[in-house]
Amino acid sequence: MSLNAIPYKLLTIKDIKLFRGDYFGILISIILFGPVISLFITALESNHGLWKHLTETVLGLYVANTLYLFIGVLILSAGLGISCAWFVTNFSFPGRKFLEWALILPLACPAYIIAYVYTDFLEYAGPVQGLIRGTLGFETAKDYYFPEIRSIGGAIFVMGFVLYPYVYILARTGFSNSPRSLFETASLYGENKFFRVGLPLCRPYIVAGLALVGMEVLSDFGTVEYFSIQTLTLGIFNVWIGMNSISAASQIALITFIFIVLLLFFEIKARSQQRFSETSKRFNGISHVKLRGPKSFAISLFCFIPLFLGFILPVIVLFSNVLLGLKGFDFLNIGMVLLNTIILALISTLIIIILASFSANISHFCSNKILLVFYNLSACGYAFPGTMLAVGVVVFMGFVDSFTGSIIFFSGSFMGIVFAYTVRFYAIPFGATVSGFSRIPRNLFDASSTLGHSQINTAFKITLPLIRSSVLAAAILTFVDIVKELPMTLILRPFNFETLSTYTYQFAHDELMIEASLPAFFIILCGLLPIFLVNEVMKGFFHGYKN
């Protein structure tokens, strides 16, 4: 295989010492990239001239809707995430301590579940419009105007309020890690601290957060299906199922993928700038500007809104549905499913974290550009819609299974599903550990190697303790994402195996919201627990610079 050949040749020519780890790194990358290659191969099959039909009819609409949604969610989540992060980092106002961590909470909510909940709540038959009709005396839908929740605007609203924490977390990290002296200089010159210092310094963090949001938006299926918005992702399924053409569907998926690779490129760029700005800087403790009077309450209220709309309100509505259906739930079964979900997510997270930190370690010491690109590419599974990636995984596992003569059979096994999660969520811990590495001064590694420690030894003794907090934060994000994951689990799971997501889906798919409410509620609870943890970790992460 030519991919194998490249590193060997280049490495010997340039006389770079190839660590034993590099072989493992290459192997991991090839295995993780397998499903994506499988999709490429699927895309090569004939598509019966469907592109002509698609470009003439629906493709323009798909692209326009996708861009509209994409830009809308980015603007909304950037606005919410950045402004809240700025206020929380620099000002003192009532409820600041509470909001500082609580603003992360919407992360625990899968967007599609929030979409279900808001539809129930805001549509004609829901309580809000009922109240409007009751108090104002309207009788039918035609008597008054109320915005339609099942629309692009509605989708932007739902996704923006659920996804902004990605931006918030990263922007907060960025703001608290910016050198105070620069802000002091800005105030001496009477310049705007936010626009002249905070924003430019924090840009790489914000871009990284937005890239995550963007990928989530492009791979979302649940919300756009429920709102019937004809985006590229929905189009993929119309082509696949409606036209019975998996090849044309894969082709559309790959185009979206290229779009996302561009985003990833921005993220990597941003990360490399981050490295530059963070070494050898002196960080003073942050003193919050004390606000008083109406101004402080206005800021409290402002920061409370995203928390309220992205978390508190939907959880209350969901919980009221749980109470409505209390008699009908099969608690024993749901308990088992909960246990399943936690075990699966824990094992997967552990494996993903180990692999990703291992590769990040290797890639940190790798000076070969081609190998580096290769390592980074293995993290691209995040950029595909889950269902399409699942198809890639299925094809790839089928290939491996036939290759091994079915001694080990991956397809439909617990291991298979763990593998699929690894392909999809590898990007999260990989990115986090790589940036964790960039904070470690190079001379520590040199010292360790001078003292005669092997690379593995160094990794355990020096690196791990130093990057602990970023690895832990990544582990928690990965765990939450796995608990929320639906489409891959649905297709790849073993017989009789349910997770909270799949269990919720069988009811939600049929718009049986009451039956779906309890497992959906548990998904959010499952995500909450580690978020409490991540916050403790993140606190250490920000404030570690004080001393």
Binding site: N238, G398, I491
Partner: protein
């Protein structure tokens, strides 16, 4: 180090594919809560244990990729289009069963005995009982009449049920007239196509529109819903079985069905489940659990379904509908349904 690698390998082996010999493995496009009552009864009667994976899409690709090694024995789907995909990818075994031949009429199975319909559902028109008078709508074709402008709600055309309906119109009217129908129908819509069939009835109740097309069983699900508001939605609509006029083709029906996986190691067991599903007691269960019509001509429709009115079904060969789904989807794309 070697010890570690060995133990990791052993754990790998333990976690990888399990063998289910003597058990029946099912890939299902029907939700577990709908299929489980049947399977439990089957296990009770025969002692054969069943294992299920449910997904709405992707299972055919999984089966195909698994090839000869696949543990799957039986495929159960809703909608003819999905069944046909399995047939098209050559994933189904040709089976011989006198019981199935006897219980399932020939227009509701594949000509080479690869798949079989197990229940029927009719795509019917529902109208607001209050706002639409009797005798105003008789056929699906009537919904293209400009007098219904702004009065119709619909699920997106790309949904399998609407796509199959579109295909049935192509067979009945020809491609050109079918497209004309679709584009007039779309211009009559009160709102952008959205929601599932349940949501259309709700929209009529809410007064957003007066007419919609749904699968008949949704009416039953709403009528007997545990949620009192859903029962209210059902009480405001009236059912119209379309195309019942003399000489007309009858109401479009779709099916749920199944087939035996080509590489099944338990083909006999798989066939016995299909036979079980086609026999009288199971056929009645389809009506009782999910308000679907029996395919077995010897089995009577449940009283509840009878009370909704009797109807004549469009007896076009169901596989002809599946063959032209692509043409149907193209019309749906062009007309923006």
């Amino acid at each position: 180090m070697r010890k570690y690698i060995l133990s990791i390998f052993v754990i790998f082996m333990m976690l990888s594919g399990q063998l289910y010999s003597g058990e029946l493995n099912i890939y299902s496009h029907r939700q577990p809560f709908l299929i489980n009552p049947f399977l439990n009864k089957f296990t009770e009667e025969t002692g054969i244990k069943t294992n299920v994976v449910y997904a709405t899409k992707g299972l055919a690709q999984r089966l195909k990729a698994e090839g000869k090694n696949s543990p799957a024995d039986l495929i159960l789907t809703v909608d003819i289009g999905r069944l046909y995909v399995y047939d098209d990818l050559d994933l189904l075994a040709e089976i011989k069963s006198n019981t199935l031949d006897q219980n399932i009429p020939s227009h509701l199975k594949s000509s080479d005995n690869k798949w079989f319909a197990l229940s029927k559902r009719s795509r019917i028109i529902v109208v607001s009982d209050e706002r639409i008078g009797a005798g105003e709508i008789f056929k699906i074709e009537d919904l293209a009449d400009p007098k219904w402008k702004g009065k119709i709600c619909s699920r997106p055309g790309s949904h399998v049920y609407n796509r199959a309906l579109m295909a049935s119109l192509i067979l009945a009217l020809g491609e050109e007239r079918a497209e004309e129908w679709a584009s007039n129908f779309v211009s009559n819509l009160a709102r952008r196509p959205q929601g599932n069939d349940r949501a259309q009835v709700k929209a009529i109740y809410e007064g957003q529109c007066d007419i919609a097309i749904i699968n008949n069983y949704y009416y039953g699900k709403l009528k007997y819903s545990e949620d009192p508001t859903q029962r209210k939605w059902a009480s405001t609509v009236r059912l119209i079985f379309p195309n019942q006029g003399e000489g007309d083709r009858g109401a479009h029906i779709n099916i749920s069905g199944g087939g035996v996986a080509k590489h099944s190691k338990n083909k006999d067991l798989a066939i016995s489940l299909l036979e079980f599903l086609s026999k009288e007691s199971s056929q009645k269960m389809y009506g009782e659990i999910n308000f679907e019509y029996p395919v077995n001509p010897m089995v009577e429709t449940t009283d509840e379904l009878k009370s909704w009115g009797s109807f004549r079904a469009d007896n076009v060969n169901i596989s002809d509908i599946a063959k032209i789904t692509q043409t149907a989807q193209k019309i749906i794309d062009r007309t923006g349904w």
